[in-house]
């Protein structure tokens, strides 16, 4: 009789503060463009998550230059395999810990990031880290590009089918690549 959750795992039930759903890919792109210090973080599942560029790692590669890119776990090896330099390697725990410190200088020592985009993580792990940031890095804006709704981000994609998601991701990347 009652409505079922349709948004990802049942573990996702969030508290009173819940992510806005990103209405369309362009919004993400323009948030990133407008951000002073945007950071893209790609997680361990990025090497096997298919996108229109190949896998998520390849999509992240497209974005280097448009934003700082960091890889968690041992994912940096995937970039290096592709001979791509300039991706920062940091573990997810260390990253979470530093993002909550307003005095952290970032990878370049220039100061804390103001917008962090997450993609390619096990659902529950991203859920938890985002929730740490929600309460303990209140000034930080976070975007989740996971295919299921991530309630603890500031902005999240809604849950969608694989193909749709690939398109959305591609659209975000393409929009970012355009000249301002």
């Amino acid at each position: 009789m009652s409505q079922k959750m349709t948004l990802g795992q049942t573990a996702e039930i969030a508290g009173p503060k819940k992510a806005f759903i990103i209405p369309k890919p362009e919004v993400v792109a323009s948030m990133i463009k407008r951000a002073k210090r945007p950071l893209l973080v790609v997680g361990s599942e990025s090497a096997k998550t298919m996108t229109s560029d190949g896998v998520l790692v390849d999509t992240a590669i497209r974005l280097i230059g448009k934003m700082t890119v960091a890889a968690t776990g041992h994912l940096v090896s995937e970039f290096l395999k592709r001979d791509v330099q300039g991706v920062h390697s940091i573990s997810l725990m260390n990253l979470g810990d530093r993002l909550r410190d307003p005095l952290w200088g970032g990878f370049d020592g220039e100061g804390q990031y103001d917008l962090v985009v997450f993609a390619g993580f096990p659902y529950y792990l991203e859920w938890l880290v985002l929730n740490g940031l929600k309460s303990f890095a209140m000034d930080l804006r976070t975007i989740s590009l996971t295919r299921s709704y991530q309630p603890n981000a500031s902005w999240s994609l809604g849950s969608m089918k694989v193909d749709e998601w690939k398109e959305v991701l591609d659209k975000i990347a393409s929009t970012l690549m355009e000249e301002n």
């Binding site: 503060k17 940096v76 979470g96 529950y124 740490g132 303990f136």
Partner: protein
């Protein structure tokens, strides 16, 4: 009546307190005047005694909270929304609430072992008497390092252990009290209290394990402890099969004894699941180990057991429902887990057997282990023939079942690891069962998928069935739990460990909530064995380690020795045997470094933290017990690495290697405060991938006191592994190379390049006699 029931009668007694006539007194404690070791500063520490030590650690390793829920619902003022800077109706904030839940979890965990220890001890005191001596391990004088360290007493008999338990119980109640609504207001104080619970847990575990080792004839620290068999295939299904699940071996012991006394051991198979299995195999290696907690449902569903005996802890709470479906009678044996069953403790055994065998009742509660022994064996002998031939569905039915799948994805959403169940269903519809079979190793057996399925498909049974041929052959050797580490072993390895020549001691422990199957545990273990670390293990992890073979068909227990030495794989036993792992670290400080143990917690913890390269790894940590065991390690200065699900423990204790001011120690030689680099970098750490974990574990073995040679060895492993998995050099070598002599010779060139990039110079990092304790400074310069 009273649990301390030794009474002395006097016709007349004169003492300092007066003259008594016709008096009976009970002996509380016979004091040990012989221990020449002086009492340290903190015997029987109370909740706040070690708070300063905790705060030192927590200042370095600040909790990074990842709230598992945004609300608190612990009192009727709630629910309270605690996100951001909001506070609950009691004034608590999010950090306070998360740490409060951590405290509650650690209290539950420590209580579990304490209650287990109390039950065990009460029983053994009754059976073996107050004066039964503690004989814990061969060649060993330090029988109870945790108890000596924490309580400042040296137990000699079973009775002496009661003092330790009394203390632990009193303290645990203090800690639970602190979790009450509206009271403690500081998250760091909650964390310190969680550490206290963890420390208490190791005392309780030690009581539980050394009492059973001393009386029940379990291996006494024997590196050559016998091999037992593990896996489905170890069970001869042609015989009646008793399956014992849980963590308290007493009922199983009486079952085995009854089988022996009645010469039935060959006629009946007895296998265990979870820690009871460990302890059964320690008691009698002929009892079989079925597997870790995650196998409960699969094994029952396979229709193998004819009777199930449950004791306590880590049981599936739906065991009655599962057993009922298959007509398998259940005998519950613990007041802690009554399962709603009628209490038949005081009934005639044959009457109980009759009721169980006839199916008049589907289960009974029997608190008396002796009676459990008799009823279990008699019942299984009656029940098994009737059940013969009872099978689960056939492979053909599997595709039929799959046909009714609606592909609604509810199961996948419910699955903690997002396993591709729907793909397996689709393939099975077409008769391809291999995707189902592939799930076998990845599935943690939690049944959330089944619970969520709108058409009630028995997904676990389907996985099990698809993999049946392989399952039934599964049979692995495992060295039974040996218990403690001998003093003589400590004497041998103390120096190489402290000097860093044995690169580290890695403890593979904890439950089976793996993100991608138990194979990862074996993989981590092998990596460190190959590199000649000492690997100790216990519980479910010790079982999963057994379940991987190399190309020659050998598993790690076959390939590596059981000695506590470089390249040794030491199965200490069940969960309560974890106390021997902290015990070994403590004994290194005591036996090798000659530090006093007695009531001397801070100094020993400070020693271990700065010198002993031990790291705990709980890749599938699931329970509250795991939480408190870990907390006991942290307080001793031993870092713990968990798998990604471990992030649900709500916070990590993370160091900031980029902050130099965080890594200052005293040089005990002259009191100078010096920078020693971020070693160990973290105290509690969730890794995202196995590879990340392996590298981090390696790195966490580095300690400020490493000799140049030792540091070089550790760096070699760190760099080698980092390069293998990350494809590049680590970027933090400049924080770990103190002097040029630390640089491993074979990697010299590339390291120097890396160091130069970071403007490394030799003066920055000191190699003092490191201590966090002001009072350990011997002389001020």
């Amino acid at each position: 009546m009273s649990k301390k029931d030794l009474k002395l009668k006097f016709d007349e007694l004169s003492s300092v307190i007066g003259t008594f006539k016709g008096l009976e007194i009970e002996v509380g404690r016979i004091f040990d005047d012989e221990w020449e070791e002086p009492m340290g500063p903190t015997p029987f520490p109370s909740v706040g005694t070690l708070r300063n030590w905790d705060r030192k650690l927590l200042e370095r390793y600040k909790p990074f909270y990842m709230p598992f829920c945004d609300l608190c619902c612990l009192c009727t003022f709630g629910k309270c929304d605690l996100t951001g800077d909001k506070r609950g109706a009691c004034g608590i904030d999010m950090a306070g609430q998360q740490s409060r839940i951590v405290l509650i979890a650690c209290c539950i965990g420590a209580s579990t072992h304490t209650a287990h220890a109390r039950h065990m001890l009460d029983h053994l005191l009754e059976e073996f008497g107050r004066n039964a001596p503690l004989e814990v391990a061969l060649n060993t004088g330090v029988e109870a390092p945790n108890i000596r360290l924490v309580c400042g007493i040296r137990p000699k008999t079973l009775r002496d252990l009661e003092d330790a338990l009394d203390y632990v119980e009193t303290q645990l109640v203090q800690l639970m009290a602190a979790a009450h609504t509206g009271q403690e207001g500081d998250n760091i104080d909650f964390e310190s209290k969680a550490f206290h619970a963890g420390m208490l847990d190791h005392v309780a575990m030690e009581v539980a394990d050394i009492s059973q080792i001393s009386t029940l004839g379990l291996p006494k620290g024997d590196p050559e402890a016998p091999m037992t068999e593990l896996g489905y295939g170890s069970i001869d299904v042609s015989k009646p099969v008793i399956m014992c699940i849980g963590h308290n071996v007493l009922p199983s012991v009486d079952i085995i004894d009854y089988l022996m006394e009645n010469k039935l051991f060959g006629e009946v198979e007895i296998g265990g699941l979870c820690c009871t299995a460990h302890d059964m195999s320690r008691y009698d290696k002929r009892s079989k180990v079925i597997g870790p907690i995650s196998w409960q449902l699969r094994f029952i569903r396979a229709g193998i057991p004819d009777l199930i005996v449950v004791d306590e802890q880590c049981l599936r709470t739906d065991i009655m429902i599962e057993a009922r479906k298959l007509g398998v009678p259940v005998i519950a044996t613990s007041e802690k887990s009554c399962l709603g069953l009628p209490d038949r403790t005081h009934d005639d055994p044959d009457a109980i057997v009759r009721d169980l065998a006839s199916g008049a009742v589907d289960g009974v509660l029997i608190i008396d282990p002796k009676k459990v022994g008799e009823v279990t064996v008699k019942t299984v002998l009656e029940v098994a023939p009737k059940r013969a031939g009872k099978k689960s569905f056939s492979l053909d039915e599997l595709s039929e079942l799959a046909n009714s799948c609606r592909l609604c994805m509810e199961c996948v959403r419910a699955c903690p690891n997002n396993l591709p169940i729907v793909e397996a269903m689709q393939a099975a519809k077409e008769g391809d069962y291999s995707p189902f079979a592939a799930l076998n190793d990845l599935c943690v057996g939690c049944a959330r998928c089944e619970s969520a399925c709108p058409v009630d498909l028995p997904i676990i049974s389907m996985i099990t069935k698809a993999n049946e041929p392989a399952n039934l052959l599964e049979k692995f050797p495992m060295r039974v739990g040996r218990g403690a580490i001998q003093d003589t072993e400590i004497r041998e390895v103390g120096q190489p460990i402290v000097f860093g020549e044995i690169p580290g001691v890695v403890a593979m422990v904890g439950c089976a909530n793996y993100p991608a199957g138990g194979g990862d545990v074996a993989r981590i273990t092998e990596e460190f064995l190959k590199r000649r670390f000492i690997v100790v293990t216990s519980g479910c992890s010790a079982m999963n380690i057994a379940m991987t073979r190399d190309e020659e068909g050998l598993n790690l227990y076959e390939k590596y020795s059981g000695h506590f030495d470089a390249g040794g794989l030491v199965n200490v036993g069940s969960c309560v045997s974890n106390s021997h792992i902290t015990g070994a670290a403590i004994k290194i400080a005591n036996i090798f470094a000659k530090r006093n143990l007695r009531g001397n917690y801070e100094e020993i913890a400070d020693y271990i933290y700065n010198r002993v390269g031990a790291v705990g790894v709980a890749w599938g940590a699931m329970s509250q017990k795991a939480a408190s065991i870990a907390a006991g390690c942290w307080r001793l200065g031993i870092p713990v690495v968990v798998g990604p699900h471990g992030a649900k423990y709500r916070r990590m204790l993370l160091g900031r290697k980029d902050k130099e001011e965080d890594w200052i120690v005293y040089n005990a030689r002259d009191g100078e405060e010096v920078y020693v680099g971020p070693a160990p970098e973290h105290l509690f750490y969730a890794a995202e991938t196995v590879e990340e974990a392996i590298v981090m574990i390696t790195k966490l073995t580095m300690r400020p006191n490493d000799t140049a040679k030792g540091r070089a060895v550790k760096l070699t492993h760190y760099i080698d592994l980092y390069k293998r998995y990350y494809g590049t050099m680590p970027d933090d070598l400049h924080l770990y190379v103190r002097k040029i002599t630390d640089v491993p010779f074979t990697m010299r060139d590339e390291i120097m390049v890396a160091l130069e990039e970071k403007d490394w110079s030799e003066e920055k990092i000191a190699i003092p006699d490191p201590t966090l304790l002001d009072r350990m400074v011997r002389r001020r310069s």
